[in-house]
């Protein structure tokens, strides 16, 4: 039973990482306003939301199984209060921190229509911190050295880095249009 929980913990962590990465990349693509005229743009935004919610389920499984299994001693409190775990205080603490951020991002997104847009956006920006903190937690707390795990981590890193570079370059998407409009003159 304990072994099964241990494996579940690790498996749900890997699935969460893949989903978090996909969701973050889709979020960056949406906020960077790529191709507002493209056919599938609404699918992208819907996927961003759906995959994030699926990720929440996997993260919940990851946290629950980590607390329940007894190989390592992580209590209920340290699942929510960062750096309070007696086992592996720092690396587990990073995981807790990213869980708290995830809860904040999820709750504000569910309430997005009811709270101020600015508040939602401020909290949503912390997703950019959530990813590296969660990845550091994974690197520090994980005991896995299988090529599959390392490969997944590496591809997630490449995906987020390239999307991040694209996002930073995509701050003004109307630039090209403005240039063209200027060349055309007033109509």
């Amino acid at each position: 039973m304990n072994a099964a929980l241990w494996y579940l913990t690790r498996a749900s962590a890997l699935v969460s990482l893949a989903l978090l990465t996909t969701s973050l990349v889709l979020g960056m693509v949406t906020s960077g306003r790529s191709a507002p005229l493209a056919e599938g743009r609404f699918v992208r935004a819907a996927l961003h939301r759906t995959l994030s919610l699926v990720m929440v389920v996997f993260v919940a499984a990851h946290v629950l199984t980590s607390v329940i299994e007894t190989y390592v001693d992580i209590g209920w409190l340290s699942a929510l209060v960062p750096f309070s775990s007696s086992y592996d205080r720092f690396w587990v603490g990073l995981g807790t921190l990213s869980l708290d951020l995830l809860i904040a991002v999820t709750v504000t997104s569910i309430l997005r229509q009811r709270i101020s847009h600015r508040a939602w956006k401020l909290v949503h920006w912390t997703a950019y911190a959530l990813w590296p903190i969660a990845v550091l937690h994974g690197i520090g707390a994980s005991t896995a050295d299988q090529p599959l795990v390392l490969g997944l981590a590496a591809s997630c890193g490449v995906a987020v880095l390239s999307a991040g570079v694209w996002r930073l370059c995509a701050v003004d998407l109307d630039r090209r249009q403005r240039k063209l409009a200027g060349l055309q003159g007033w109509r």
Binding site: R33, L37, R112, Q113, H117, L173, Q177
Partner: protein, 71 residues
């Protein structure tokens, strides 16, 4: 929104950041210019389209799509 009461779509032009999602959800009332910004038809939305209009408002990343109730 009470059924049978006409409502129409409005876009806050200052808040709009041109993601183009509203036009994907409500092409019956919103089309995009060549920059990807919405051109809105303020004709009241029929009952069968109200759900899609609400969806368009909900999906807007900038929360710039508004549904106004006709008096």
């Amino acid at each position: 929104m009470t059924a049978g009461r006409a409502s129409s779509v409005r876009v806050d032009p200052v808040a709009c950041t041109g993601h183009g999602l509203c036009a994907a959800w409500l092409p019956e009332r919103i089309e995009l210019d060549e920059w990807g910004y919405p051109i809105v038809d303020a004709t009241p939305v029929p009952d069968e389209l109200v759900a899609m209009a609400r969806r368009a408002a909900k999906e807007c990343p900038a929360r710039a799509v508004l549904l106004t109730r006709a008096v």
